[in-house]
Symmetry: D2
Subunit: 344 residues, 4 copies
């Protein structure tokens, strides 16, 4: 079977997590997130983001985090602004609309929103009450296409949102990969200051499952638990989420795993660059989108799995290659060799 | 710390599951339920229920299973009939209503619905289109208060539902405990024949998390995956659910764990019976509801944790004691000794 | 064809309304409730209820008013308490649940809620966040079975709601009939003080259609128009609602029409009383529920239309007779004569 | 006060309707759409569209019609395709999303969808079940910007929808204006054959309120009344809708009113054309979008009311002028004179 670079959730979890699951297996704990591990994991996160007043809730996955946060924060007539590449806009089977809220989209080649984008949506929704009231800005960092926000960009967004009484919510399914990217100047402390809520992705960074929702805006914290329960996301054995985040967040494991994933992607990026490939977007996280000929793509696909992302002109195709904390080093070396061999 | 008899989800999971998680950890698998373990687990379940045309979907928890099944099966004007003790009616934070559907309830001391109960709801909803159209009958087996359905009772319900074009859906969060109860004459094959859908509970029977939704009615099977995704319940690493059900379902582990839990509860039941206690309902599964004096309850609570379930007259209280696959044998012995000591 | 006592919406509207529609037909007006008539009607209502800070919104019907108010006021995890006879609980095809909110019911023979009823629901919802948060109390005045609230009763409810941070909402589809009932001691000014919102029914009191929603709680007023629009209830020609309420509310027409309807019902009530009938509930509004034999019911039904409301023991049946502002005086006389003739 | 060309709902209704309301005012009728007028109006519509198996339902307004039809037809995971100018996409305060369904949009300068547009949405939703299933195509005729569909265009759309198992639904808020437009070759009979459902607009063509939903696809007809009731759209005095459509549909009044509105718009269009104006879109219905200088727009606005629709380059602006069945002939003459005077 070919080694897969199709996604960052093909393997299980970091061995430390399995060890902890075994170690604590027969400890009796309270259910529904009131276990000691979850409470301790919340504390560690509060410390790492330097925000004691932030509240942390653990849920199983990203779509779940998105739909719970958005439906809990908004009144029925309030809507969401997203880039057209936003996960909630394209890949969550209408999860947000199913809770009653529209997602407005702005076409963005780089997957990132800026104040002008949001202003354009606000300008187009002045016919009150016939048009919706945009109220929440949804951004992903790193984005669905591997790009990242700079500190200045996030500050600008945050300032704009505050001035316009909009909530700023960051989808962090691949947040650690953003934080460890070459060129990144953001950190968790700043993100906690600049957003109303965000989440720390676990599923794509070493956990079996789990995202840690962090609510910084205190007016949005009360009664959040009801929404987790109502949407079916409150695990009886919340310990499973608590233990995992405890293992990931203490020490540097969480960021180390992302750094590893990024490094492997960059290694493959170098190989493509060497043979003169261009990229659909220039990324420094664990996703790369090199442009190759269809023939080259087929050649690579003989031994490695990845997605053909976008057909382009002149028999070219952008392929998507994703690495993870678990990507095999030897497989990366072999893939890089194979890539370099495309040239001749 | 006291040993807890408060619920059946205080511990982690059966060690076989942890072993398998470790063993398969670095196998690369497809995401979103298309992994080999999930597919194999579906096959084993199809074989055990002797119904090859049934479809199996794994989700994380019971509330999630309930809300996805019900919202996927019903049109907007269709409603649900439940016993007033039904989990969806009282303990899921309005999860079903949040998907737009009303739950009608019938007061039942034993937690079980019969055709007359449902007929009474149908009779009260004849003023079309001003009243809703009851369309799905929700039952739990074992029920939220530990009772079970007999084969005859389920056959009667099934016949009534078919005659009235109603769907019959069984919440099986504690189904194995029902199947292994003293006096039970139902089996999985019959349940698959008599219901449109049901689920096999994992969370309360040895798994870290997970319920296996089984859809028997073929007209309700198409496009079910959309609903799992839309409600945020499709795990990227579906392998976590697949591996667990694979371990539980092959061989007899699944039923053995439930039999163990039931046996421990019956042992404690005997102790209460010996000292002359009555019970709120007479149960043979892993939940018992002995009636004791408040003083006796406080005495027991010094060393063991459990819930005071219902205040009764004359300073009496019904307490709820739950055992599980992981309940410590020694703790049960000590508890039984303590109970018998109440008499003197 | 028989004269119908089946409901209070069998005829068109009060002739004054038709005159006004003709008179103002070609005046150009702003759409969507911004016409001069609607604005003037709001002012008159504010004056009549002596509450200048209350906001008034006109919608087409009662179910619409109920679903818009409730879904606009509540967050997703908040629920409604209603008597089991409440229109929202039994006769609106799940309109409230379709907006995502559960309606808890309390069985009440007289159709009226008191603080103890609500307390019982609060007591049953202490398992947070597994159970919903009851937040809005829905009452009807007059009720669906013709009874009315006294000032003391409404004060008690209002006080209880404030103490428990619950909203109090009065369905006033038949509010004028309550205000003009024998024994009533409530008035619009008090209702505006004691409720967070209520509505003045038009459809059942002389209008072609229309209910005037009055929001007294200023924190619930902002952005209400969005909800009217979103639920499809904002008429392009809002003038139709404005003109009607202008005609009904200026002078005493609104209350006079209800007084007339009540008087006709009382006249029939007297006839039933004279022949020794009992009543399902003792009412003083435009609905009566006399208990007659099935034979008597069939006898009356030869010449008059009404509903058989509830089958009782001993071949008895409670019938429902409703009068309106338009009920023909002669028909009432004939019906009364027919009733008295039942005796012999 | 200036004469208004801002919309086609500034006045009341055609005098014939008022006459009929007066004439039938005291006839007792069944409520909730079961009155004789509504039933007769349905028959006349069935005859005019030459489709006896079509079902007709009357509701109060266009947003209401759209949200009821779409939510009644679709399952939770199914979505809608609309032009970006579609009323449901931009001007209904999220009414469709509030029922749980996403609306995909395609940018179209002329406001009309074609098979290629829909195919592009289908192509972008192949990642099942992570992406929604587009199931209903929403078109408006005439469109929100005054353009119309030809018979060939509708045939092509209908064929494509059938081949792809999509429902085709036509918003007919301004359908009569389309049918009476210069260049139109469609008729009601063809529309009934080619669509699954459509509606005949009343509000913008002579009625006080009201749209007649026509469901042609028999599989979509059952139990539709529940949805009307649940969404608060079932008028107790359905007679109000029945009487209006009876007056409009018998004889040629309905089409005559639209022809009149169109003629007045074309008269103003000629005036703008004479002075060399261009138009944002070339329309032949009751809406025109001439492009004038800001100075010219301000000049006209001194005596006539209309909307500035879109700011353009070089101090130009597209204005929107709408006429109706009630537009005053003299006002049109004066406006035309004023327009011609702009030139000098």
């Amino acid at each position: 079977m070919n080694f897969s670079f199709k996604n960052d959730y093909a393997e299980g979890c970091h061995p430390n997590i399995l060890k902890a699951l075994v170690q604590f297996n027969f400890d009796q704990q309270n259910g529904y997130g009131l276990d000691e591990y979850s409470q301790l994991a919340e504390q560690i996160i509060q410390e790492k983001i330097k925000s004691e007043t932030s509240k942390v809730h653990f849920v199983a996955g990203g779509t779940q985090a998105n739909l719970i946060v958005i439906s809990a924060f908004l009144r029925p007539h309030e809507s969401v602004v997203s880039a057209s590449t936003g996960h909630i806009f394209t890949n969550e089977a209408g999860a947000i609309e199913a809770t009653g809220h529209k997602v407005h989209s702005v076409e963005k080649a780089d997957g990132k929103l800026n104040p002008e984008d949001i202003q354009s949506i606000l300008d187009g929704h002045q016919n009150i009450p016939h048009q919706l009231k945009p109220k929440l800005v949804y951004i992903s960092n790193s984005t669905e296409i591997g790009t990242i926000y700079t500190q200045q960009e996030l500050e600008d967004l945050s300032k704009f949102c505050k001035e316009n009484e909009l909530y700023l919510f960051m989808d962090g399914a691949r947040l650690p990969q953003a934080l460890m990217a070459f060129g990144n100047d953001l950190n968790l402390e700043e993100i906690a200051k600049l957003t109303d809520a965000f989440y720390l992705g676990g599923t794509k960074n070493g956990a079996l499952l789990g995202e840690a929702i962090v609510i910084n805006n205190q007016s949005l914290q009360p009664e959040f638990g009801f929404h987790i329960k109502q949407k079916g996301a409150m695990l009886a054995k919340g310990r499973l989420l608590g233990i995992q985040f405890l293992e990931l967040m203490r020490g540097d494991l969480y960021l180390q795993l992302a750094a590893y994933a990024n490094a492997k992607a960059m290694l493959l990026k170098s190989a493509f660059t060497e043979i003169g490939c261009e990229f659909l977007t220039d990324t420094f996280t664990n996703q790369i989108f090199p442009i190759v000929s269809i023939e080259q793509a087929e050649n690579l696909a003989e031994h490695f799995d990845f997605y053909q992302w976008k057909k382009l002109e002149n028999d070219k195709v952008a392929i998507r290659i994703i690495t993870s904390w678990a990507t095999n080093e030897e497989a990366v070396e072999q893939f890089a060799t194979k890539i370099r061999a495309l040239k001749s």
